[in-house]
């Protein structure tokens, strides 16, 4: 059964899209990530124009992050003040990101930059996570305690000025690194269509030393607003949000996520992180191979429409 995507202007097999959405939803439920970093490359592999894939991926991230955020809100594990500082940086970053996106599209290097950024980001994050989780697994097998946060330990981040007290997180921290983190994630959201949780969560834990219990909720809070903002700006600037594609992905995604969560609960934290690291590396590798092997056709044709 085919369905016509009005914005991407092509017919696709609805079952493939449903399958993609469900698979990514399953993985995102299992690992507690938004899944934007999987859905956007998958859509591009399936010949959806990158412009549409990125904008629509951001829309899917909103849906998949909402239910998680609601749960965290009920449990009171969101630091709204910290989230707002992150968000201010995020909105500025997303605005710059959309501008960069339009510029790259105009000069014909958008696909390349999207692929390169994915390879770089997924490669780095995947490798770091793999190293960390393997050493955690080793320690766990020797029955040592696994400490993510080492309290009392300070780094250069804590010597920056403009400090602010975040009551919920029980920390006293400069707003500069927080807003800067939000800003960088905002750029990634609008250029790559990712929520950025897989970078933000480790950065908040290891770099900013924010307590783990508020990290996920707060990052989801920021992700929802920045992704929503990106969707609206992409829709206005590039007309590239395909609501039909997004809706099919969302429906399959939220259902898949429920099953993913159940499987995820049976696995231990460091096992989950090791698996996620392998997945992240696999996606990065797939994109890297695409960049390096000689293409079947060195020429590509784009019309003045969405192909740019």
């Amino acid at each position: 059964m085919t369905v016509y995507l009005p914005i991407a202007e092509l017919s696709v097999n609805i079952f493939i899209i449903l399958g993609m959405g469900a698979a990514v939803g399953f993985l995102s439920g299992m690992f507690g990530v938004g899944g934007g970093f999987l859905i956007t490359p998958l859509l591009i592999f399936y010949n959806i124009p990158p412009v549409v894939a990125v904008a629509t991926g951001a829309n899917q991230v909103v849906a998949s992050s909402i239910s998680g955020a609601i749960t965290h809100f009920r449990r009171g594990t969101i630091d709204i003040k910290l989230g707002t500082v992150l968000l201010c940086g995020g909105l500025a970053g997303a605005t710059l990101g959309v501008w960069i996106f339009s510029f790259l599209r105009r000069i014909g290097q958008l696909d390349l930059v999207i692929s390169l950024m994915y390879v770089l980001l997924l490669g780095t994050v995947g490798t770091l996570m793999l190293i960390e989780s393997i050493s955690a697994l080793r320690k766990a097998s020797k029955n040592q305690a696994v400490a993510l946060r080492k309290p009392g330990q300070h780094n250069w981040v804590h010597r920056l000025p403009l400090k602010m007290r975040f009551k919920k997180s029980k920390i006293y921290l400069s707003v500069i690194p927080v807003a800067a983190l939000g800003f960088s994630i905002g750029i990634l959201t609008s250029v790559m269509g990712v929520g950025g949780g897989f970078i933000m969560v480790p950065a908040m834990i290891y770099l900013l030393r924010i307590p783990t219990n508020v990290v996920v909720g707060t990052s989801l809070f920021q992700i929802i607003f920045v992704s929503a903002y990106t969707v609206i700006v992409q829709a206005s600037a590039n007309y590239s949000v395909d609501i039909v594609l997004a809706f099919v992905l969302m429906i399959a995604g939220v259902i898949g996520a429920q099953y993913g969560v159940r499987v995820g609960q049976r696995l231990r934290g460091e096992q989950l992180r090791a698996l996620l690291a392998l997945l992240v590396l696999a996606v990065g590798l797939r994109l890297a191979v695409e960049l390096v092997i000689p293409p079947k056709e060195v020429y590509s044709v784009v019309s003045a429409g969405l192909g740019f």
């Binding site: 909402i66 239910s67 007309y239 390096v292 590509s300 044709v301």
Partner: protein, 264 residues
């Protein structure tokens, strides 16, 4: 506003039809060509998988002898809306394949389906086909801007044609026009599933013994219908509202999911 646009577009198409065929229409032929299509509008619905379009036509004032000898040939082309198209060429830089060179061709049809009584290169000399721009190999591909010494022009043109034919938006069928009686003919052209929206033009050309005799053109609109059209319109005419709606849809989907699957 939209209706007005459509009228203006049709007017422009009509104007270009006349200017496009007037240049080579000699006065001393008695033959005339007439064509008709069953519809002037193709609707793209949610399950659109391409369509076949049948064009009927007749030769008026033909010469009985020449017709009997099969000296008349007909070419029918369905040209899509014209857009500038950019061809990019990748080159290896530090091990990575990067778009390095590009060439933009001015106003080329986004889709092109050709149907003829036989291979068009046997219907008229290639030079004539080039002049009239009939056929994928003879279509006008005018580069825009600076193209250096022009040595790469041929390779970019070939690449453009190859890409368009491989993706199926340019096609040819050298047996697609058939005579159903002495002077009545039927041509079928294929619209691919990813046919571009907009005003297409059906052009029919009559050749007598390797010489161009007459031409006729009709507009054909390809439009999205129903919900597809409503969505496209919303996305382009009120993008901000559309963006908010897309977000709202995501919020509601996520929210409903969190209620339905609530575990605590």
């Amino acid at each position: 506003m939209r209706a007005l646009n459509r009228i203006v577009i049709l007017g422009l198409v009509a104007a270009s039809l006349f200017s496009g065929t007037a240049f080579s229409e000699p006065a001393d032929f008695s033959e005339k060509l007439d064509i008709g299509i069953s519809t002037d509008e193709i609707a793209i619905t949610s399950d659109f998988r391409g369509a076949d379009l049948t064009i009927f036509g007749a030769i008026d004032g033909f010469d009985q002898n020449l017709l009997a000898q099969g000296k008349y040939n007909i070419v029918v082309a369905l040209e899509g809306p014209k857009e500038n198209a950019t061809v990019r060429k990748k080159e290896r830089v530090f091990g990575i394949w990067i778009n390095r060179h590009s060439m933009t061709f001015e106003l080329v049809p986004e889709s092109y389906s050709l149907s003829s009584t036989r291979d068009i290169d046997t219907i008229a000399p290639p030079g004539d086909m080039n002049n009239m721009g009939i056929g994928v190999d003879h279509m006008r591909l005018t580069p825009m801007g600076y193209i250096g010494d022009g040595s790469s022009l041929a390779e970019f043109r070939d690449a453009f044609r190859r890409a368009k034919e491989n993706s199926g938006v340019y096609q040819r069928d050298p047996g697609g026009v058939q005579f159903i009686s002495s002077s009545l003919f039927k041509a079928s052209v294929r619209l691919p599933a990813d046919v571009p929206n907009g005003v297409h033009v059906v052009r029919a050309y009559l050749f007598r013994d390797r010489v161009f005799v007459a031409a006729k053109a009709l507009p054909l609109r390809v439009v999205k219908t129903g919900i597809e059209q409503a969505i496209t319109r919303a996305a382009h005419e009120s993008p901000l509202l559309y963006g908010f709606l897309a977000v709202l849809l995501a919020v509601i989907t996520g929210w409903i999911a969190s209620i339905v699957f609530r575990r605590d």
